[in-house]
């Protein structure tokens, strides 16, 4: 991401890796031995879309939402209801419900973003709980706990073909989300968002309209999540409030993004592949026990405690340390810079840096 300081060889390696990963993603349906594995692939792709969407908010601004299942559910039900109640064509319904969620996210965001940190998380959780209540109770409209059947967009397709088509649809949506994230990451807008993550007051004093930035990131994040939900509705065809508005789905998004690394473009995707596959495996091996809750909880705790930056930066550091001279250039140069920095001290040209380095850093003490 900070390509400005990367040596050419590392960049080449990165492109190579990206090409291999993309090739794997696109040939997966061919390699998948049966329809079950293929459907698991669709689930993982869906998780990847959700985690990447979540990362527009969590990664850029550092505002952790535990309730993104709300937009997943709204997108899914929006699409499903538009198809069943208003006879809107499937994919138009998908886009429309994305737009509806974007509009809804504005007042929600205004309320949630007025306060920082803790209250934001509380609101995000509350939102899922309230929507669960509403969608369960309002059964005349939503079908309630009986669920909502969404007709398939391609009724003629057989099951494996259905999975195949949706695998590529999810992959396409994922590409769109990743591209958007990448574009934001390198823009001035993204720079402002990252500044908010680091120090919101300071960013504002430098002229970043923090509230507006946060709101835009929030709406974009909610909209992509809703599109992921809508696509899920069309793929799975059966919606139940308990699953659509589940705190657990929201926490999976956080876990995946955090595990992969929220500062990285591909972090949430990697996290989704790891956690998603593990979840599917668990379901296959242990059936429907409560064990996946324990596993998800333990994993989340471990990541928060020991790897808050995620596996990608962690692995990256290890690789650079182990790798041959070529790939470790950046590390060396950073180390050299530090050294150089120490020897030149605070005042290049004046040669007096000792006191400056020894000076206390009250900013750390007071936090």
């Amino acid at each position: 991401m900070r390509s400005a300081s990367d040596p050419a060889s590392l960049r080449a390696a990165r492109w190579g890796l990206l090409a291999v990963a993309a090739a794997l993603v696109f040939t997966f349906p061919v390699l998948a031995p049966n329809a079950y594995i293929l459907s698991a692939g669709v689930v993982v792709a869906n998780y990847a879309v959700l985690a990447t969407s979540w990362n527009f908010m969590g990664g850029f601004t550092g505002y952790i939402s535990l309730g993104h299942a709300a937009y997943f559910g709204l997108g899914a039900y929006g699409t499903g209801l538009l198809v069943t109640k208003a006879d809107v064509p499937s994919f138009l319904a998908l886009v429309l419900s994305g737009a509806i969620v974007a509009v809804l996210a504005v007042p929600i965001g205004i309320a949630a973003l007025r306060v920082r940190g803790a209250s934001f998380v509380i609101v995000s959780i509350a939102l899922v709980l309230i929507l669960l209540l509403v969608f369960q109770s309002w059964s005349s409209f939503t079908g309630g706990s009986n669920g909502l059947n969404v007709p398939r967009p391609f009724p003629d397709l057989l099951r494996p073909e259905h999975h195949l088509v949706f695998y590529y649809l999810f992959a396409g949506l994922l590409c769109l989300a990743l591209l958007t994230w990448w574009a934001v990451d390198r823009s001035r807008f993204g720079m402002g968002l990252k500044a908010i993550r680091e120090d919101e007051d300071k960013a504002q004093s430098l002229g970043v309209p923090t509230f507006l930035y946060k709101l835009v990131a929030f709406v974009v994040s909610a909209t992509f999540t809703a599109l992921g939900g809508g696509l899920y509705a069309l793929w799975f065809g059966d919606l139940d409030p308990i699953f659509q508005f589940s705190i657990l789905v929201g926490s999976y998004m956080v876990l995946m993004a955090l595990l992969g690394g929220i500062r990285n473009l591909f972090g949430p995707l990697v996290g989704a592949v790891i956690v998603g596959s593990a979840l599917e495996y668990f379901k296959l091996e242990f059936g429907d026990t409560q064990f996946h809750l324990v596993a998800a909880g333990l994993l989340l705790a471990l990541v928060v405690l020991f790897m808050p930056d995620g596996v990608l930066p962690f692995i990256g550091d290890q690789l650079r340390r182990l790798g041959p001279g070529q790939s470790s250039i950046r590390e060396v140069s950073a180390g050299e810079l530090l050294e150089q920095n120490a020897s030149r001290g605070d005042l290049p040209g004046q040669g007096d840096g000792v006191e400056g380095r020894a000076a206390p850093a009250p900013s750390e003490v007071t936090r």
């Binding site: 309320a111 920082r116 509380i122 709980l129 809750l293 909880g297 808050p308 936090r367």
Partner: protein
């Protein structure tokens, strides 16, 4: 139209419910006060305590109230340990966000383990006096509800006295108000924060036992509690114990009254409506202020 008789009945039930909310919200406020931690697992511990009370009664046949003698000290120690071993490891810069995730993870583990050990079956304590009730001014009050309320009030009163009268309470209040200043006058704020966590979890133990008396419990029940409780502490102003208690009472009564017209499920939404309204009108909460503004 509902009769005034029914309204009075709901009012009484609302007060009884509000007492329990107030106790639990006070616990949440303690964690937030001492460490700036939003403890999502609070209600999971509540359900855990309820399960322990049920299990205790199921195994021994002794009144579940007696399980308090074990669960309260146990939860206190668990709280201290949790603060020492887990929360304190987090980087102070990102503490608020990361602690939410960590306590969320703990809640998931507790829910999962409860489901694993006790299965997802709904459980209920059956006591000799479970069905009995009496009348006050025309309102019918179940004995178990009154006991639960009594427990909550006694615990809340105990907490209040502890905070106001004891040295620990003084240290706790100082830490809540200004951690750095408290450290400067010689208070070991880290240790005090640990005790704050212990006390918070002890309220969950009391609340859980009270809950077990008159409710059907199941592992995922804690989600139904955490939402309202979170709403209460935001409305009350994060970090203010009296604010949380007042908000708890007010919202508990409101919920109970709304149940008459709207039914139980829709009445629950009153908490979320209050939460959003508070954030729109007065984001620092109605009774706190100073602390909430920073978050």
């Amino acid at each position: 139209m509902t009769s005034p008789h029914l309204v009075f009945q709901s009012l009484v039930l609302g007060v009884l419910l509000g007492g329990l909310y107030a106790l639990l919200a006070a616990g949440l406020t303690l964690y937030f006060g001492v460490m700036r931690v939003v403890m999502i697992a609070h209600s999971a511990f509540l359900i855990l305590a309820a399960y322990l009370a049920w299990w205790f009664h199921d195994r021994t046949g002794i009144d579940p109230l007696l399980s308090l003698a074990v669960t309260v000290p146990l939860f206190f120690v668990a709280g201290v340990l949790m603060q020492r071993l887990l929360i304190r490891r987090l980087s102070p810069v990102t503490l608020t966000m990361m602690s939410v995730l960590l306590t969320f993870a703990i809640a998931l583990v507790i829910e999962g383990l409860l489901g694993y050990v006790f299965s997802g079956t709904q459980r209920r304590v059956q006591l000799g006096y479970s069905g009995s009730s009496f009348e006050v001014l025309g309102a019918r009050v179940a004995v178990v509800k009154l006991i639960a309320f009594g427990l909550a009030v006694v615990a809340l009163l105990g907490l209040y006295l502890l905070l106001k009268r004891s040295r620990l309470g003084q240290a706790l209040r100082a830490t809540i108000q200004h951690r750095d200043a408290a450290a400067l006058v010689g208070i070991d704020t880290d240790r005090v924060a640990g005790y704050g966590f212990g006390l918070g979890l002890a309220t969950a133990a009391v609340g859980g036992t009270a809950l077990a008396l008159d409710s059907t419990i199941y592992p995922s029940l804690h989600w139904h509690w955490i939402g309202p409780l979170m709403a209460i502490i935001v409305v009350g102003g994060l970090g203010s114990v009296p604010g949380a208690a007042i908000a708890a009472m007010a919202l508990g009564i409101l919920q109970s009254l709304l149940q008459l017209e709207m039914g139980t499920t829709w009445a629950q939404t009153v908490f979320y409506v209050a939460l959003f309204a508070t954030l729109m009108v007065r984001p620092q909460g109605f009774f706190g202020g100073r602390l909430a503004q920073r978050f």
